[in-house]
């Protein structure tokens, strides 16, 4: 820093610099190791302790003997059902929002306010979504629907529909942000070319922009599913059940089985939470807890990994397009 002193005895100064440099580099390498060690510790321990439990019968049986034996099939079914319902609600809304923001809104005040709202929504604590689900979806929307449609108490109670809607609000920012990124990556010249051929704005979006952004949108959807499958706090009060002797399935026209969105459900992450904290016999159910955790973490990891690989592939492809 002080040029004079460096000049006066260069040797000593450089040596102490070198030491400091190596030390600081070492320190930063140490810091980087910490998160990776944490990942490997969590994964390793759960795989090690859970792998013995996860068998075919564990995956295909319902809980037995007061939740101390048997499997977790209803939880897997519930998780898949609720995430499907969630993505069916969130995906159209999220894609629509992203399309509007990138193609129609411009860069003005509206854009900035929406941007801030999306970022803020992403930072809302997950338990707040749970409160919102109870206060808005169940008590306001649900009870009023019951009142208007005279359906007794069908909508105004915790059920899969409201849990999925609550989760959809939570994952909306994930979908908006990644769809926006995908849309912005489509070169402006392609839009101009389409418009020059006489296509309207919507035709351009439908025929040119969206097909190219497909990969990025899919990545966002997968990330959203993985996020939704792992969240517990928003569904605590909006439809999750500790134990349900039946699957949330209804026979449509008496024959075609379909997911029943008005039933409660069991779910993997809630199952882990409830077994670990409120189980009748926590010691005895410990293998089930590890097994369930392993199944959940395998599910979210596979989804995340797919999304990451997809995105790398997608970015490379778009990079080539814009080079041509």
């Amino acid at each position: 820093m002080n040029g004079k002193s460096v000049l006066s005895c260069p040797d000593l100064k450089t040596r102490s610099f070198a030491w400091k440099e190596i030390l600081l580099t070492g320190l930063s390498v140490f810091f980087v190791m910490i998160p990776f060690c944490a990942i490997f510790f969590i994964l390793g321990k759960i795989v090690q302790k859970g792998i013995g439990t996860v068998t075919w019968s564990f995956l295909s049986q319902p809980p037995l003997e007061g939740m101390t034996a048997g499997g977790i099939f209803p939880c897997i079914f519930g998780t898949v059902a609720i995430t499907l319902l969630m993505i069916a609600i969130a995906l159209p809304l999220g894609i629509g929002a992203a399309v509007y923001l990138t193609e129609y809104a411009g860069q003005g005040l509206f854009f900035r306010i929406t941007r801030a709202a999306v970022n803020n929504l992403a930072g809302v604590p997950s338990i707040i979504f749970g409160l919102f689900g109870v206060g808005f979806f169940i008590l306001f929307v649900g009870r009023n629907l019951d009142h208007v449609l005279k359906t007794g108490l069908l909508f105004g109670q915790p059920c899969m529909l409201w849990a999925a809607a609550t989760l959809a609000v939570l994952v909306l920012p994930v979908i908006i942000v990644s769809t926006e990124e995908a849309l912005n990556a489509v070169p402006q010249s392609h839009r101009a070319a389409s418009m020059a051929l006489g296509a309207t704005k919507w035709q351009t979006i439908r025929e040119v922009v969206l097909p190219q952004a497909r990969g990025g949108i899919l990545t966002g959807a997968i990330l959203a599913i993985s996020r939704g499958a792992g969240e517990t706090a928003p569904i605590l009060f909006t439809g999750c059940a500790y134990f349900l002797p039946r699957l949330p399935v209804v026979k449509l026209f008496g024959a075609i089985p379909m997911i029943n969105p008005f039933d409660q459900f069991m779910e993997l992450s809630y199952h882990i939470f409830i077994m670990a904290t409120q189980s009748m016999n926590a010691e005895k159910s410990l293998p089930i807890q590890y097994g369930t955790t392993l199944v959940l973490i395998a599910l979210t990891f596979l989804l995340n990994l797919t999304a990451i690989i997809f995105r790398i592939h997608f970015r490379k492809k778009l990079g080539q397009v814009s080079l041509q």
């Binding site: 580099t25 801030a116 809302v124 409160l131």
Partner: protein
């Protein structure tokens, strides 16, 4: 749309029949375009709408607490104590009792005792990681490390809570010989793991946004790598880094499942990090399931939620403003 109308106007005098046809088609397509734009606009404002609805529905229920409760109840309540034989001012959250007490002070204590250490831990580690990723790692190494970090961000918080509860808690108790097996410190470690990816991502973005010219100028003056990092790069990116830390603190305050599982959930007024605590989030998660809708207890829980939402909303806004300002400055 404009391009099309220019074309049709040009052809109009020669092909009248064709012109009418295109006009008609135009009208139709213009109508669909308009409808579609309105539908998309609705989707576009959905996030603003949702934030607004969360505000309204939290505060609507929270305000009803004051129908029966007094604002002083949120600090403490004068209660006759049988042991002491006199009335004393009790600062506690005790919702199930003959004289329920809804003091927010123990919950603030809990939230702070978890979120503050968690933010410090994840800020130190996270900024270290960010410096490594942006200044030291080769682009190749970064491409391997960053997706792995995303996997850490992808671990559900209930899993982290379970690992803390089932494994780390006993391990830490054996080292520090703490009175409580589940305490604020265990929660803070877990929460730090969750906020770490956020802090790393945002501060790395801030560091990488610093123009290369600044680094080159520093090197040209004879500075070493780390002198450049500490005296040029970090000062230039400091607003982005502080936004990252603020955002991390907001996330730490809002984390629910980890604290519900790993902090013991005893609502104590304490400053001891190795004591059991109950955070605002854990309080809602633990009690909302067993509360009668419309009771004072129910409204008190929504009040806790409203306070939590207001605090995290402010923190998010501050970090958003700081980040926006930094982006604008760096573009100039």
């Amino acid at each position: 749309m404009e391009a099309v109308s220019v074309v049709s106007r040009k052809y109009a005098p020669h092909e009248i029949e064709g012109d009418i046809k295109t006009e008609l088609m135009h009208k139709e397509s213009r109508f669909t375009e308009l409808i579609l734009e309105k539908v998309l606009l609705f989707a576009g404002i959905s996030s603003i709408l949702l934030i607004g609805l969360i505000f309204i529905f939290l505060f609507k229920e929270a305000v009803l607490f004051f129908k029966t409760g007094h604002w002083l109840d949120l600090i403490g309540r004068w209660v006759y104590d049988e042991w002491e034989g006199k009335r004393i001012f009790k600062i506690m959250w005790q919702s199930v009792s003959l004289e329920p007490k809804y003091s927010l002070i123990p919950l603030f204590c809990g939230s702070f005792l978890v979120a503050f250490p968690a933010t410090i831990i994840s800020a130190v580690i996270g900024i270290g990681c960010a410096i490594f990723l942006s200044e030291i790692a080769s682009p190749r190494l970064r491409e391997v490390l960053k997706p792995t970090l995303e996997l850490l961000a992808g671990i559900p918080s209930v899993v982290v809570g379970f690992v803390m509860l089932a494994m780390v808690a006993t391990f830490v108790q054996n080292i520090f010989h703490t009175h409580f097996r589940l305490n604020a410190f265990i929660g803070a470690i877990g929460v730090a793991l969750v906020t770490l990816p956020i802090i790393i991502t945002i501060s790395e973005d801030a560091l990488r946004a610093v123009p290369k010219e600044l680094r080159d100028a520093s090197y040209a003056l004879g500075a070493t790598k780390w002198q450049t990092v500490f005296q040029t790069v970090i000062p230039a990116a400091i607003s982005g880094i502080s936004a990252a830390v603020i955002l991390g603190f907001g996330r730490a305050l809002g984390e629910t499942m980890i604290v519900v599982m790993a902090t013991g959930n005893a609502a104590l007024v304490t400053g001891n990090i190795f004591s059991s605590v109950r955070t605002m989030t854990a309080n809602i998660a633990a009690e909302l399931g067993s509360v009668a809708q419309g009771s004072e207890h129910y409204y008190a829980l929504f009040l806790v939620g409203a306070v939590l939402f207001a605090v995290t909303f402010l923190l998010n806004m501050v970090s958003e403003l700081v980040l926006n300002k930094m982006r604008r400055n760096l573009r100039m």
